[in-house]
Symmetry: C2
Subunit: 278 residues, 2 copies
């Protein structure tokens, strides 16, 4: 994303990474400062993008005390791009406002090539006026830019996207697993799926990989487990009965338990094909 | 299918239906004989298509004794188009051979308009030579004609198609159900699903209907329950662990138990949206 913004003529003033050599290399490439504290990032820029691993990391970089992006943050705008529990975005917005800053969630439903090329699928949540203010920058990052609603709602939508995607993935793995156990030609079976009511985006992205056990990671089983868990919990909190989401979440949890969480989500097929990890 | 074959210049000699007036009306329309016994059907035609409700009905029309399509069946070819347990197709083939006849399964993954227009998605199982013999007729019925393998294999593929489709449907219902409970705009949510990894054929066919509670029946919840059960049992017989297929099958079973089995499969959303049948 920093490379893309630089390409588009923006000044990338500062970069930060928990792995300092990564920040240093990128800073050299972009003519930016490699910051060693979060406060230094905030001091260096007007608009700050964060992409962290999980809820805890997001709350840590916006900590009320200690080294924090909130130090000297008055007037700054933060755009937080990690997939998080929706409530965390609400809390970050609260903390940012208390520091005189603004925050926006910028949920991405795409991956590294789209970030590099400025074609991210970007769903934003937060104050509409803040969104409109940073829109010209976001449009350079995004092929599809969408304002969803107040803080947390983009994360809700993202969690639901990934939950449905994960369910479809786990179901496909079961369908292909049965097909293989029956001795059917899986290439034929995938073709028939693609031409009928069984078709899905994950059939395109994951079907052949399940057949060939090619689980190089684009979106890990561990991430699938996390996102399915977020969505499932949102539904439980609403009092809903969600048996398919639950069964799917438990499959991806099982990938993690079996040490397969680092495989791509297509690796869920390792649990459903006869003679694999069963 | 009879209308289509007539349109294509074939002689439709005889029609039969358990509801006699239906057969009589169609016979008048097509200049065919409305048969009142199964034996009369076999006596009237060289090539006989059957479309029945379930396994029991299929075995009944091919009963070894009593009124049966097998009476005087030597040299006849039967094409059986119902979605059945794969083993039933194997048994029907055995009985047909014993009577000096041939049989083919012609599994359809489409509905009434495709039957009328000759654009069925038709997957055939049985003896390859029999398939080649009736191919010219089948091609007039079908937009996509595919030979799958020996008797029962087309039914296996069909069951897997519908199982995966049903899982995707139940998962979509849960995703939209959570979205509604969270107060998200479901039209927006469906658009996002369509543009991301959550996309699927059932999103196109059932998503809006779930939102609008428009469950006019194209493919019933009861049929979904039946097909999911067939596929799930195939997998269990192979010793597989299939939690998503199981949870899905149980959802469609629940539709039936609640008296909702006559709704379209999109009606599974009635079980997952807050304030519906929950």
């Amino acid at each position: 994303m920093a490379r893309r913004l630089k390409d588009c003529g923006f000044t990338v003033a500062a970069v930060y990474d928990v792995h300092a050599p990564t920040a240093a290399a990128l800073a050299t490439e972009l003519g930016a400062t490699a910051c060693t504290t979060l406060a230094q990032v905030t001091a260096s820029a007007d608009l700050i993008f964060t992409v962290v691993t999980d809820d805890a990391a997001q709350l840590k970089v916006f900590a009320p005390t200690g080294d924090s992006l909130l130090t000297g943050a008055a007037g700054r705008i933060f755009v937080n791009c990690a997939t998080l529990t929706p409530g965390v975005h609400v809390e970050v917005e609260r903390r940012a406002r208390a520091a005189g800053a603004s925050s926006l969630e910028g949920c991405m439903a795409s991956s590294i090539p789209q970030a590099r090329n400025g074609t991210l699928y970007l769903m934003c949540g937060g104050d509409r006026a803040v969104f409109d203010q940073v829109r010209p920058v976001l449009e350079k990052l995004s092929g599809d830019l969408r304002y969803i609603g107040p803080a947390g709602t983009a994360a809700q939508v993202k969690a639901l996207v990934n939950m449905v995607m994960n369910c479809n993935t786990a179901a496909l793995a079961e369908g292909l697993g049965i097909g293989q156990a029956l001795g059917l030609d899986l290439t034929m079976l995938r073709e028939v799926f693609a031409q009928t009511g069984a078709n899905s985006q994950v059939l395109k992205t994951d079907g052949e990989d399940m057949q060939n056990r090619a689980h190089d990671c684009y979106f890990s089983g561990a991430h699938a487990a996390k996102d399915s868990s977020i969505a499932y919990q949102l539904g439980l909190d609403c009092g809903l009965n969600l048996p398919v989401a639950k069964a799917t979440k438990e499959q991806f949890d099982r990938m993690v338990t079996l040490g397969l969480g680092g495989l791509d989500k297509s690796g869920v097929a390792e649990l459903t094909f006869k003679g694999r990890h069963g």
